[in-house]
Amino acid sequence: MNPDLLPERLREAISGDLAPVKPLPPVWTRTLYTIALTAGGLALITAAFKFTLRPDMGELPMWLSWGCTTLQLVIGVALIGMALREAVPGSGVPPGATALAIATGVFMQILVGIVTWMHSPGMPLLEGVGLAKGMSCSIKDAVLALPAMVTTLVLVFRALPLRPSIAGLLGGSGAAVVADAVNHIMCPMSDLRHVLVWHTGVIFGLMLLGWGIGKLWERRRYR
């Protein structure tokens, strides 16, 4: 090998910082790690805030309560996996797959909301308290999204996302869908206006937040 091939400046920079590094685990391992931390975080939050199951849980068929929650969790985890994949150079998620996955997450949330509303009216939407109820549900969704959001974004930005805003968008969407999946069996209200404004709204808000964090990270790292 001809050592002259390597410029001296580069050789100095590299040899001065050549500590062995541990390769990043595969995406599926990092996804499992995220699931474990998210599950732990959700258990802690549920216990700390004394969140309980929705009062009409018994009226909902199993497929609509636990079934839909499981389905949404699977979609949320898939989105998180895609965010973690996007964080590694050379394994970026194609734009079509990104759009399809995010659209599926939002569509499923709306569909579950509609079907739940058709099966059980839940707690009525009382005149004058809709805003307060809605705000409290949105905050609950955001709090429930925290463990997945933080874990995913930390793992994403510890790698090297070349499109950080896309990775953030996927991570935010995944965390939001996971939070909504959990809140589906907790929120006592089925009214479609409540679901579409306060629950779907949070999903879009967290998507935007993930995208924005990605943009900020990009500015700090690459500018």
């Binding site: 910082d17 685990p25 998620v93």
Partner: protein, 187 residues
């Protein structure tokens, strides 16, 4: 993928593993193996040999900072080319491009595979390639000149393999049309 290509990829994986373990020799081996193809790839973005040389060093510094993000035994080249592409795009965004383009516009020596030499002589091909839009040039460079599969090209560009294939076919079609136009004009 041919046997040579598999052997080359395997060698790159071994070098990358050694480099992650902290072996300078393996980093040098990686640099020696990838210097020329990466310079050619960088040239498609900046069209300036001196700037491409500078960006090559920036690329290897980025590779060094992100070396833990490579997971063996995944192919090394999509990982490295994706980082290279990003370094080039960041450079283009930085606004230093215009001055450099005016200062220097020489063409590096690019090896042309036989299937592309059928289209025209080497000098004409080089000239016509350089006149293509950067995104067309990039995909032709990666697939036809650097010999990457569409799957690898897709991984580097962050698109599906099918999309990479479509882009390559379109770019080749444009190249053929321009060569025919040129030949028509010459005669």
């Amino acid at each position: 993928m041919g046997v040579d290509r598999q052997a080359e990829e395997q060698r790159l994986i071994e070098l990358m593993i050694g480099y992650q373990k902290g072996r300078m020799d393996d980093f040098e081996g990686l640099y020696a193996a990838l210097k020329q193809p990466l310079l050619r790839y960088l040239w498609t973005f900046v069209r300036n040999a001196t700037v491409a040389e500078d960006l090559l060093q920036d690329t290897f510094l980025q590779i060094h900072r992100a070396r833990q993000t490579y997971t063996p035994p995944r192919p090394v080249r999509p990982w490295i080319y994706a980082i290279t592409r990003h370094v080039a795009l960041m450079h283009l965004r930085s606004g230093r491009r215009r001055k450099e383009m005016l200062a220097n516009d020489q063409l590096p020596e690019i090896p042309v595979p036989p299937e592309m030499e059928k289209l025209a002589d080497r000098a004409t091909l080089h000239k016509m390639l350089a006149e293509l839009p950067p995104h067309s040039q990039e995909v032709l460079m990666l697939h036809h000149l650097l010999g990457m599969s569409f799957e690898e090209v897709g991984q580097i560009l962050g698109v599906a393999a099918g999309t990479a294939k479509v882009r390559s076919h379109r770019a080749l079609k444009v190249l053929r049309e321009r060569i025919v136009e040129r030949e028509g004009g010459d005669s």
